[in-house]
């Protein structure tokens, strides 16, 4: 018997361990995937995932459904914990930006790269202009502020902001398109 979302939220508010068990089964791998794209190393990613779920358990009573879905709330916790980890381990972010902004080849490891098996998806994301991918990569997966991106890439702050907007709009299109059955999609690609 599957537990309804509102029941899970109730258990979480009571700091009931069972809520964590259910949420881990449902969303654990998704969170792990995002964390892995940020910290890169599996051992560190496991630590971050564990820390994230402890935080989710501790702060469960504070979750407010008006601010967004439970999954988004959990994603934000996982992402923030991962970014903090990269900062504490002295990731050389500056070097990364240089690499990311100047490389055009496929050899570069993008966090924001689509899974190989999602060929159709890859096409669409690859069609996403590089400049949008870069902004999303730096801001979401690297944890840079818009100000920092502006300073380090030497592009106007306004440009940074508009590229984020447009990039996210394009990304939404990707997932809106995904609502169409897969067969039709492959047929058209």
């Amino acid at each position: 018997m599957k537990t309804r979302p509102d029941q899970i939220i109730k258990l979480l508010a009571q700091k009931d361990k069972r809520a964590i068990s259910i949420l881990y089964d449902q969303y654990g791998p998704a969170l792990y995937g995002i964390i892995l794209k940020i910290v890169k190393k599996e051992a560190i990613a496991q630590d971050v995932l564990q820390d994230s779920f402890i935080k989710i358990w501790k702060n469960g009573p504070m979750y407010n459904s008006q601010k967004g879905t439970l999954f988004t709330w959990m994603l934000n916790i996982a992402r923030n914990t991962a970014i903090d980890k990269t900062r504490s381990k002295h990731y050389r972010v500056n070097d990364f930006i240089e690499e990311v902004s100047h490389e055009h080849g496929n050899s570069l490891e993008w966090s924001f790269a689509p899974k190989p098996e999602h060929i159709g998806l890859k096409k669409i994301i690859n069609n996403l202009d590089e400049k949008y991918r870069l902004i999303i990569e730096l801001i979401y997966f690297r944890g840079l502020s818009q100000q920092e991106v502006h300073e380090q890439l030497n592009i106007p702050l306004g440009t940074v902001k508009s590229r984020l907007r447009i990039g996210l709009r394009e990304l939404r299109k990707v997932f809106d398109i995904q609502n169409i059955p897969l067969i039709v999609f492959i047929f058209f690609s």
Binding site: A30, G33, I34, Q50, T69, T72, N80, R172
Partner: protein
């Protein structure tokens, strides 16, 4: 409130991605309240990110779930121990503190007692010696009183013993009291004798010299001698130390009539 201006700030996208701080959140929520259609934008962005995450899910290492659940258990246990009333262990603390205090006090009191005991002993022995001195003084005073009374007594007769030679300055004075039958002599002016000699006083009874006492060679002293009732004269002779059975008449130095 300008919707276009707001959208140009890029705050909406950042809010949707969870990148905004509390201040920025409040700002965005003002606009969301003012322009409810903007909520759809936020929801759409968040859903896109969720879909992206689900599609790029990676199975975590197998022991991760149990690690998480057991850490939650240990946190809960620690919390339980912390909030439990610490009565027993805090009681133990008080007990230990009280015991140490009691012990320390006992030791201190013991030393104090020993010190006081020693002080008391000191005082006691001092008091004893004072008392003894006091007794001695009392006795001296009493004997002085007696002497004074004796000398003042109208029945006490003063007898001057002088040298046979009228030119002699030798003198002794005897105090003679027939009613109390007491007699005292003072060697007021007699030569100092060598160590092997002593003065001795005699009473003449029916032409027989009777010993009345051996005298200490001290001019300041009033020495008690035997009271010889029937003595007609008193005579002092120089005898060898320790006295003699009979007077050495040749050594008679002073004499006087009773």
């Amino acid at each position: 409130m300008n919707k276009e201006w707001f959208l140009n700030t890029g705050l909406l996208e950042q809010y949707a991605l969870g990148l905004t701080n509390e201040e920025e959140n409040q700002e965005v929520e003002k606009y969301l309240n003012a322009f409810p259609e903007l909520n759809k934008e936020v929801d759409a962005i968040q859903k896109a990110v969720e879909q992206y995450a689900l599609q790029h899910a990676v199975p975590p290492p197998k022991n991760t779930k149990s690690n998480i659940l057991s850490e939650i258990d240990s946190i809960e246990n620690k919390a339980r121990i912390k909030t439990a009333p610490n009565r027993r262990s805090s009681g133990r603390w008080w007990l230990a503190a009280a015991a140490i205090l009691g012990f320390a006090t006992t030791i201190a009191l013991f030393f104090l007692y020993a010190q006081k005991q020693a002080q008391y002993q000191n005082l006691a022995s001092e008091f004893e010696s004072f008392r003894t001195d006091c007794e001695i003084e009392k006795q001296r005073f009493e004997s002085d009183e007696k002497l004074f009374a004796f000398l003042k007594d109208p029945n006490t007769k003063k007898i001057y013993l002088g040298g046979l030679d009228p030119k002699s300055t030798h003198q002794a004075i005897a105090y003679w009291n027939p009613s109390t039958q007491k007699a005292i002599v003072n060697l007021s002016n007699l030569p100092t004798l060598p160590d092997d000699q002593q003065y001795q006083i005699w009473g003449d009874i029916d032409h027989v010299m009777v010993n009345a006492g051996i005298l200490v060679d001290d001019q300041s002293q009033l020495q008690e001698i035997k009271f010889l009732e029937k003595a007609e004269t008193l005579n002092i002779t120089i005898e060898p130390k320790g006295g003699s059975e009979a007077p050495t008449v040749a050594n008679l130095i002073v004499a006087g009539k009773v």
